[in-house]
Symmetry: D2
Subunit: 288 residues, 4 copies
């Protein structure tokens, strides 16, 4: 009947526009949590991992000072960008290989893991020679050439959800990496684009955390800094993500936010970060 | 002065995009938190209020049993719908005045406050003769005739954020009530409509909680049930809202979700609600 | 199997969150187009109806002058608001019954149909005593009490799509009117809320026009004024809607936009409207 | 001056929300339309360019047959994908260099321009050795490494709007290409992601067409195929885009949609394309 035809058609559209083909990423085929071990961290399962540092690597001294502060608060992964994906071509694009070097040196000195963003397939080997963990940013979540290249590496990849990626899109993107042979994947909710961005930069989708945990075995972490966009909202959003079950948190910090090279408005100070880290531990205890 | 600067900035924002005209609702003109006192609850400020009950009033015995269960877990407000705003005209529309009666009787027997939804300006006096707290649902957030009518009443109003209402839209809607002379307003984040609703019914916008608290003095509460749409995600979303600073939580419960008249899929059982209430108390402690 | 269970669950969510229950509104059960006849217009099918006028009724002389101008350009329906749903309570709320009177007088003098917005169930009989066509605005698309009340009237209803209503939501809302016994329904696409409203007030969803025409037999018309928000984009959006198959167009005009009581920024001048009407006729010819 | 006022306003917008830093792309600094000349087409200004072909290059014979059909209907640019960005890693990824070869041969034989998508910075020289026009897909609109690489080439680039890119994001992305020295840019609206994708794959944002034409001098074209997602809605959306002022249209065609390698559901048949092309010419005439 026409009604049946109409229903079949709707289902086809559903299949075409909105599905995931996760196999390696699916909890159906891999029920237990994936646990990722890096030199200084254990990520996933019942573990909680703090990843923090400056938005961009500004200087060797600065990244080391920031690393020292976040380590003192419990972070084991030192974040920082050497290649920055900026909306405008006229904004600071990062310090490139010099940034990678300074970042590596700080991580070594502090016995922390290094995580940094990769923007270009041509830079994969270069970045690989420095970093412990690759990061794929929101704008490159469906840069399939990059995902394929990282699928051939044997290092963990933090894959940030695209600004308007569905849960299924994110799982499919993870599957690109997994299909290549790399199952060291960390998924990151970082805020999505909605109709209201007047007071926050993005809308942190906390529901993505338990939803993803029901669908996939990979660790699910959150980035509250980019979701908030302004520092005064970073702490409540971070705590919300932890309460929703996030297995880790990435946060940007800066000792002088007003003069940060990039995104100073959303950076916590080292003191604010320490307070946040303390509250996180209590919330982790509360939701056990 | 800072207030002037803030006004100038607000005006610029208003000109360019959307805007809010909150005066009575604005923290600029009323810095301290509004505290609302009902017969059995204190709402706002440092207080935390649990509001729970069935989606719809199914029978006198059922609403009383549900009320007993949620009161035991710490709820002081008994929710329940007698007039149900259903997407389809062929869905159950609520038990009307018989529902109001049963709801009132249960609240009285249990010494709890009653909150129920109002859909029609013609029903304001009828509902007023039964309830302690009015609720305006997401579909009526900009039903200005209804807001004006409630502005003339002297009972608290729970105003739910519209499905795609901006923060400013919500403040303006509150201002309609306040402008009429009723300043007993409770704002509720209940999930917004975004591009992805495959796994949850809506997207709980936890950032709305601290953002609203920075802009207005009214209590900010959350409804995790309608945001989740499926019961297994209600608890993590509720905890996230509390961690973000919500001053109260509304949740739907049912002892036999599979046979609930409305929205059984998102109802917690009384046991699940008790566990949630315990965790909420711990999180409240953690974020102090 | 678990996979099957997962699929079934996804389908249930789909059914719950996103479906239409259109029966009377469905083309499956009423394949031929509904044609609506008012005193001065024939709406639907192969007909095209121009509805235009000021945003709000400002004075008897003004509405008549505007009506004269739009009639000369081919409009048969004179629009104008006496009850205005304004985002802020402090904005002009319309001239009420005085506005209705002036509107009726102008429509009679010009032999045009009158269409005006209704905001409150308590005003249904009042408005009914003046108007030829009721209009339900975007904020009241799911004001089910109002839809039910209009379902008992025997006059056409222009039902505007909610700002973030799905196609199914709109069909369900129409079904509320139809279920009451009133099948004189005109559906209006008027722009939806998306993530980008910097340059236009809303996003005109032209695809809704052919999609709705495939699903329902009611006339589908468009409002380009509220979608654009600024007059210079009204004409291209209006032409797009016509090219996509709209069976009518509603447009706001004003002879002195800078001093319009409401929404002057999006009003066309009478001369601009005449040019638009001419182009519409040519596009209607082109797509035959 | 007006330009100064415009700049001040732009700066305020930038501070409050998002912003664009378009300089080379801005009409403020380059008032007249950019006209792009390729071997067989003139794109921009008062010209209208039809770009059509199969979604993916399936075989030498097939792309030539499709090219012949679209050329007969007035197309001067032959589209086709050799590198396909598929949501799932298990979907067909395109025929790679063999596809490029077949595409080039067909374009040469038919005296048409070739346009094909580029996914990877490592493929820029390879693709450059075959194509007349580069295409950057929606998922790579903010793949800044790729944009920079194309900024150093001297061939036109069709830059598709990202699925949830704002107008400003798109202008900033174009500026990345322009900043590198390549001002041969064609911007393409192809549908955005909104809250409703049940009946169409995306929401064609026709307002983007006149908005972009007011802000930039580059040609603005539309892709109705990906916006619709189903072939029966391609024609009304394409006509809407033309009526809104699009300076060109890209459409996917297939002689046997049910067996197309990719996206058959949205392909027009050659006959449907011919009818569309005829109507486009009439609409172009109507809106002159």
């Amino acid at each position: 009947s026409e009604t049946e035809l109409h229903e079949v058609k709707s289902e086809i559209v559903e299949i075409i526009t909105n599905h995931h083909s996760a196999i390696k990423s699916s909890r159906d085929f891999h029920p237990e949590d994936t646990i990722i071990k890096t030199p200084h961290s254990v990520i996933g399962g019942q573990h909680f991992t703090l990843m923090a540092g400056p938005d961009s690597i500004e200087s060797p001294a600065h990244v080391e000072a920031m690393g020292k502060a976040v380590k003192a608060a419990g972070a084991t992964v030192l974040r920082g960008g050497a290649f920055k994906p900026r909306t405008s071509p006229y904004s600071f694009q990062g310090n490139g290989e010099a940034g990678l070097k300074a970042h590596r040196a700080a991580a070594d000195a502090l016995e922390m893991d290094m995580v940094t963003e990769i923007l270009d397939t041509r830079d994969v080997d270069l970045v690989d020679s420095y970093t412990d963990i690759f990061q794929v940013g929101t704008r490159n979540m469906q840069n399939f050439a990059l995902l394929k290249a990282l699928g051939k590496k044997q290092k963990p990849v933090v894959l940030k959800r695209g600004m308007s990626a569905t849960i299924d899109d994110l799982l499919n993107a993870a599957e690109y990496i997994a299909a290549g042979g790399n199952d060291q994947i960390i998924l990151m909710e970082r805020g999505i684009r909605t109709y209201d961005n007047k007071y926050t930069r993005n809308t942190l989708d906390v529901s993505a955390i338990p939803v993803l945990q029901s669908l996939t075995h990979y660790p699910i972490v959150a980035d509250a800094s980019h979701a908030a966009g302004v520092s005064k909202f970073v702490t409540p959003l971070a705590l919300a993500a932890v309460a929703a079950g996030a297995q880790g948190l990435m946060t940007e910090i800066h000792d002088d936010p007003a003069h940060a090279f990039v995104d100073g408005a959303q950076a916590l100070t080292p003191d604010e970060f320490k307070l946040l880290a303390d509250k996180i531990r209590q919330i982790r205890e509360a939701i056990k």
